[in-house]
Symmetry: C2
Subunit: 494 residues, 2 copies
């Protein structure tokens, strides 16, 4: 450790604090802000982003990075992450960043209209511009980081995972799915149809139950909030995490399962290493790692038979539902229903990766220059047919459904499925260490499981890359076998 | 207008946006933040303040200010305010600012304990340190701005008003009060005692009525929020103002009158000149000007006989109160009750200035070096006896009651009474222009009155100083005669 490293730590602490400020302002814009505040909020966030970027790219940073030394695993990793952040921030000419930002905003606006009208032609030109600029960005980042261009985009969301890592994993899943999905459907068809949760579920009672569930997972509301927004998310900062949900008076499942998902994210943030707060190594290890934590809570723990049995009891108590409807078996049929659909965000656990695989291949081809934006609708439809055997009736239910590309986010989609796979792998390790897990889940008790994750995942911050994090926690790098084994147990051992 | 001025405008726009961000974070800390978020919030606000200060004091600013020219009243005033902001920001050595900030924080903490224990001895040392540093600050600012040291502190809250302006106004009020207060008390004693608003007033119903009242004043909730906090305030920014209140289920008056007060502040912010948003000239004209807008709504308009009659009807409708209790006459007796008390924030309209006069004289003497902190309790008690004829039973009800000095705020207190006087003067001008005002207020309609203020006060931003603002709006600089005439009509023409 030397003076240059200390200066860098002070500078990154300041950048981290400004980013935290922006995080609260983003949360506020979604959960609190009156509509008329939007323009000023844009100015506030732009000023914060501009100042952050200037602090990160100031000439002094390059000098300090050249001179800095850091001792030990944590500070060594912190310094390496500082170098990476600086390399990414300085790789792009300001004019390219601004052109891309403008193109993204313009495309996003046109996309809303194109989606509403199911008319890809309306967004084609704007998306072509977005993709052209993303290709420039990918090439510039790739050159600066010594990576393939598409990998350089992925690296912005989940450092340390490349397309070459993902490709065989996804290919294997595609093969598995081709055989497994029809079997899962056949098994499901032989079982009774699920009975819907009928009735009115007052928002106040849903909110109280959601808070209780978040607390059962381990969230302390002395350091957290639960509010409402159109699109649920987890924001804020580690000592002040803010999750949101959306209540439907006719269906409590959306809010309940959504809150459990966001609580998984929130627990990661809450238990990041406080000694490195607002330092790069004190952040989460990436989007796939983050998604693993939301999914291990929502999908692995809380949709398990054991927890569903507990939750059924709570639903009976709170809403007076019958045992026929609010029982483990019916909740499992309702909330673990398999089906081939067009919409990614509505997909079940088995088919969700197919939606991701489709997008991974298409976006990689667009960034690689082998797929023109004009050919996207056809490629989408052919890809979905190959993966799931269905073709969307229009582009609104096809290549227009997600905001991501139209907002300039390329390289993000794989994180969803890497996260699902990592969640299964971590859960397998937890079950190995804790044979009593199901007995705990049946009592609504996730405390021991969360302590395991606090220690082996959350508390590691960004010290380890995605693969090393999994290796340290489970003894192996990403092994999708645990995910298919989990799906087999849940959907095929019927 | 030249390139140097354009660069300054861009820089101040950025500073303004960062200050807006800080404003939302301050609001959030009071109205939303879970307690555990406090430490990180401190880091976020410190980073924002640090970056703002660096942007304002960068060498380029002095160069640009030396070269800048601006045409027209608005840009000319904007440039002058930029010079003032730069002069204030560069007048103080960083070490002094930091020492003062630390001393203020330390003193504020000790003060809470000292106040709870009514033990001035506990805070004497810390407050002595605060005052010593404030004296240094006042001297440095005074030297940079060419002002008397105490005036330089006042200038930080209400530019353009000096102690020499205030002194004769306050002396005249003291004389008027000595004669008027006993008369007002005698008149009040001959009237029936007020009947309290008894019963339970559910928070939801109070909130709805408070929102309605804010809307009647003219606040649009597409650009505003109303929330709860321990200490009510108005925050946010002009396109997104955020007022808070505190509901007492046993007394709706606090929230109602408090919301009307904060709405007056909010209307000022909402109608600042949008073309100069985030520029110095686009801000309010100072704290006294701001207080004039809260008080013209709360005290002048909404405690008028005409509006109280309207409000009485709404209270009967919403809470089923009897005509005996919820009538104009009884509300006037309840909410315009005169009395000699120890506590400033509980004081009535007539005695409130006495509390301010006391503080003005004492703080001026402390900054001038003619009153030692150790002698403050005695000077306080003697001063209050001279002004109101009462002596507090202990220092908790005396010199320990306000946070201001213990947090390093010297020069702020006069703004309260300057605001009250300006409110009366503006209201006299409005009544002169609008003979139909009482008929409108009797229907709960403040729209014409607010349009008058939008045009002549709010929309002027900080283009004019406090005195020139009053001159342009009313034809005269501050004339306390309108305030005493108002008090005479309300309390002495019985």
């Amino acid at each position: 450790m030397n003076a240059a490293y200390d200066r860098l730590k002070a500078r990154f602490a300041r950048i981290g604090a400004l980013n935290e400020a922006a995080g609260i302002l983003h949360w506020d814009a979604s959960a609190m802000m009156p509509p008329g505040g939007g323009h000023a909020r844009g100015e506030q966030l732009a000023a914060l982003a501009g100042v952050s970027h200037e602090l990160l790219t100031a000439p002094q940073v390059a000098e300090d990075l050249a001179a800095a030394t850091a001792d030990g695993e944590w500070d060594g990793a912190n310094l390496a992450l500082m170098r990476r952040a600086h390399a990414r921030a300085t790789a792009l000419p300001v004019a390219l960043v601004e052109a891309s930002s403008r193109a993204n905003s313009a495309c996003e606006m046109v996309w809303r209209e194109a989606k509403a009208d199911a008319d890809f032609g309306k967004v084609r030109k704007a998306l072509t511009e977005v993709v052209a600029l993303q290709r420039e960005i990918a090439q510039a980042l790739g050159a600066a980081l010594g990576m393939d261009p598409y990998d350089a985009l992925m690296d912005g969301y989940q450092p340390g995972v490349t397309a070459a890592d993902v490709e065989p994993v996804f290919a294997a899943y595609e093969s598995w799915l081709a055989e497994a999905l029809p079997r899962a459907e056949a098994i499901q068809a032989q079982r009774p149809a699920p009975l819907p949760l009928e009735g009115r579920f007052p928002v106040a009672a849903q909110r109280a139950l959601c808070r209780e569930m978040a607390e059962r997972v381990g969230l302390q509301f002395s350091h957290a909030r639960l509010d409402e927004s159109l699109h649920p998310f987890c924001g804020g900062n580690p000592s002040d995490v803010r999750i949101t949900t959306f209540y439907d008076e006719h269906n409590p499942a959306k809010a309940l399962l959504g809150v459990l998902h966001e609580t998984g994210h929130a627990m990661y943030e809450r238990h990041l290493p406080a000694g490195f707060a607002r330092q790069p190594v004190g952040e989460a290890a990436g989007m796939a790692a983050h998604e693993s934590q939301s999914l291990i809570v929502e999908m692995q723990a809380c949709r398990s038979d054991a927890f569903l049995g507990f939750l059924a009891g709570r639903l009976r108590q709170e809403f007076g539902l019958s045992t026929r409807i609010a029982c483990r078996e019916n909740l499992a049929r309702l909330w673990r229903r398999v089906g081939r659909g067009f919409i990614r965000v509505d997909a079940d656990e088995i088919t969700y990766p197919a939606h991701v695989i489709l997008r991974f291949r298409l976006e990689r081809a667009m960034i690689g220059g082998t797929l023109a934006v004009a050919d996207l609708p056809q490629a989408w439809n052919e890809g979905l047919r190959a993966l799931l055997g269905i073709v969307p009736p229009d582009d609104a239910q096809g290549c227009l459904q997600d905001i991501h590309w139209h907002d300039g986010a390329f390289g993000y989609f794989p994180s969803y499925t890497l996260g699902a796979m990592a969640a299964a792998q971590l859960m397998a390790a937890i079950r190995g260490d804790m044979p009593e897990l199901d007995a705990q889940l049946a009592k609504g008790d996730l405390s021991a499981m969360m302590r395991w994750l606090n220690l082996r995942v959350h508390g590691q911050g960004a010290r380890l890359g995605f693969q090393d994090l999994l290796r340290a926690a489970t003894g192996r790098p990403l092994d999708p076998g645990d995910f298919t084994a989990h799906l087999t147990r849940r959907y095929l051992d019927g």
